[in-house]
């Protein structure tokens, strides 16, 4: 990477981080709602741990994995909305008139959301572990959980950026939220796949990559070091990030049509 490109990525990233952190309406819900759901679920669904085949007797530990993926979805909204806002206000044209390279713009824009994800992951881990959740993999599991979490956020964030770049509309980006949540609900979010009794639901959850993102993080919390679950978790998150980045990059090429 040459110095000019590095400077461009750094400059756009810095702006993205600063503007994200200056919007409490974006940061606070992304931190509070996953924790709220964690507290409700761990209290209300504790009985599920008595189901045969449930991997732990602590629903809090089981549900903690969900907060990271849920947080990633909130962060994606933030990434998409910021990009859409830049298009709507004409800021994108300002950027297009500078020597800024497309790759620098995309990576820089997504940096804000990755920093938000880092704050989320740290907060969720601290709150979860303080509340009594387990971390079977030990302290070395922390950076791995954070890594899957960041990759998942990058994946959902780039999907948000793709939709923003294609449509140029913040409202359409907001419309992704129910879709993301439907995907989350149709995964192994509330129960492990092996205890889901409804056949079609288990099939959908098995095909749903979100299940593997959740299970990758959960394996570190519940099982310790499970190579297969981790590999599938990284594969699902990395695959989503790759697809999202390619799609966003293609949409950016169309949007940034300068000669």
């Amino acid at each position: 990477m040459n110095a000019a490109l590095a400077l461009q990525i750094g400059t756009v990233a810095r702006r993205s981080i600063v503007r994200t952190m200056r919007q409490p309406a974006m940061v606070v819900p992304a931190l509070v709602f996953p924790l709220l759901l964690l507290s409700i679920n761990s209290g209300g669904l504790h009985a599920a741990t008595r189901l045969p085949g449930f991997p732990t007797d602590s629903y809090l530990t089981f549900a903690l994995g969900l907060t990271f993926v849920q947080g990633a979805m909130f962060a994606a909204m933030s990434a998409g909305t910021n990009v859409a806002m830049d298009i709507e206000t004409g800021f994108f044209n300002r950027l297009s008139l500078t020597p800024l390279r497309r790759v620098a713009l995309l990576l820089g824009q997504l940096s804000g959301v990755v920093v938000l994800a880092l704050i989320q992951a740290t907060t969720f881990l601290v709150v979860g572990l303080t509340a009594g959740a387990g971390l079977k993999a030990g302290p070395l599991g922390v950076p791995v959980i954070v890594a899957i979490s960041l990759l998942t956020t990058l994946g959902f964030g780039s999907i948000g950026a793709f939709v923003a770049l294609r449509t140029g509309s913040g409202e359409t980006v907001q419309g992704l939220f129910p879709l993301f949540f439907a995907t989350l609900f149709l995964s192994s979010m509330a129960l492990p796949r092996n205890v889901i009794e409804i056949h079609w639901f288990r099939t959908v959850a098995t095909w749903n990559p979100v299940s593997y993102m959740l299970e990758g993080i959960r394996s570190l919390l519940i099982d310790g070091w499970n190579g297969e679950a981790l590999a599938l978790g990284f594969l699902a998150s990395g695959g989503l990030a790759l697809v999202g980045l390619v799609a966003a990059s293609s949409a950016l090429k169309t949007r940034m049509v300068r000669t």
Binding site: T11, R15, G90, N93, R94, L97, T98, V257
Partner: protein, 335 residues
């Protein structure tokens, strides 16, 4: 490659057609010399911003060619962009950043060395009168402050050519005057070439050395303000009778002195035929017919008259037509 003998901006038969849309720009020829302020005057929807977007490389032309700073706008986009500064129609700023942060952001994207970024940014903020507000978030700036910051950002890399797309639209008179003064200073101090689009006749008249009038995507007149006014040539007289029922007779008297032109519905307006017709002779003729008037005024030709003469409608009327056409296009079709 840049041609040093070339004009600052040259366009030949420039066309832009939008999908399922109108021919927004329909064969424009332009030549703007170095150090000149060129006013591009026209109502909303005339094709001003589309032309600017093409000349600034943000929109490829459908047909035709153009060179800016000696570089081809299609084949040498990056060189064009490094030679120009632009403040587009929306003051496109980030409401969550401060004025100073904007300056540093823009300077870094132009790869200005770190030690120069702060200095140049601060100088420009001072120049546009924003030093005191430099550390406030832009979301709290007034419209005039945003426009001034937009101008400062366009100048951070010291461009030779500046595009200003309706820079004072929506500003109060005081902010508008301040921006005009800044543009005049820039041209005088640094010899910057300015391509200014506007829908305000007064703005074009005050700032521009030459004006191109654009309507429906075509340039319908071009020249210095005085040349354009001279093309219309003759002044007009407007009279409003004291008694409304005398309007017909007043119109008859005025028509002895020239051809009627659109004016106030309460009175009559004629463009004087020339020769030795003076306001005094009109007064004498009205007096001879025992007609009393509430208002009698001699108008010297203005750019508004030029627009009317060249397009057959007033600038305001053209803007209304455009708005109506847009509303009609948005109206759902009745089942």
């Amino acid at each position: 490659m840049s041609d040093p003998s070339a004009a600052a901006i040259e366009a030949e038969s420039l066309v832009r057609v939008f999908k399922k849309g109108p021919r927004a720009v329909d064969g424009i020829d332009l030549r703007v010399e170095h150090g000149e302020v060129y006013g591009f005057l026209g109502p909303n929807g005339a094709g001003k911003s589309t032309t600017v977007h093409m000349l600034t490389t943000l929109l490829p032309p459908t047909e035709g060619t153009a060179r800016v700073a000696g570089y081809d706008i299609v084949k040498e986009g990056p060189q064009v962009r490094s030679s120009i500064g632009a403040a587009l129609q929306e003051a496109a700023l980030d409401p969550f950043l401060t004025g100073r942060e904007h300056m540093r952001f823009q300077a870094a994207l132009h790869s200005i060395p770190r030690e120069e970024r702060r200095q140049r940014g601060d100088q420009l903020l001072e120049r546009v009168g924003l030093s005191d507000a430099a550390d406030r978030k832009v979301g709290g700036y007034s419209g005039g402050m945003k426009r001034r910051l937009d101008l400062a950002l366009a100048l951070i890399h010291e461009p030779r050519i500046l595009f200003l797309d309706e820079p004072t639209t929506g500003l109060d008179p005081q902010s508008r005057t301040a921006l005009w003064e800044e543009v005049q200073r820039l041209v005088a101090d640094r010899g910057v070439t300015v391509f200014l689009t506007t829908q305000y006749l007064e703005e074009a008249d005050i700032l521009a050395r030459r004006i191109g009038i654009i309507d429906n995507g075509k340039i319908v007149a071009e020249g210095t303000p005085n040349e354009l006014k001279a093309q219309i040539g003759r002044p007009s007289v407007e009279a409003i009778p004291l008694e409304p029922e005398d309007l017909g007779r007043v119109t008859e008297v005025l028509e002895r002195f020239g051809e009627p032109v659109p004016g106030t519905p309460r009175g009559a307006t004629v463009r004087l035929s020339g020769g030795d017709v003076t306001l005094a002779s009109v007064v004498r003729a009205l007096d001879a017919e025992d007609l009393q008037v509430e208002h009698l005024q001699l108008h010297q030709p203005s750019l508004s008259d030029v627009f009317l003469a060249k397009t057959g409608r007033s600038l305001e009327g053209a803007a209304r037509e455009h708005e109506q056409a847009q509303e009609d296009a948005e109206e759902p079709v009745a089942a």
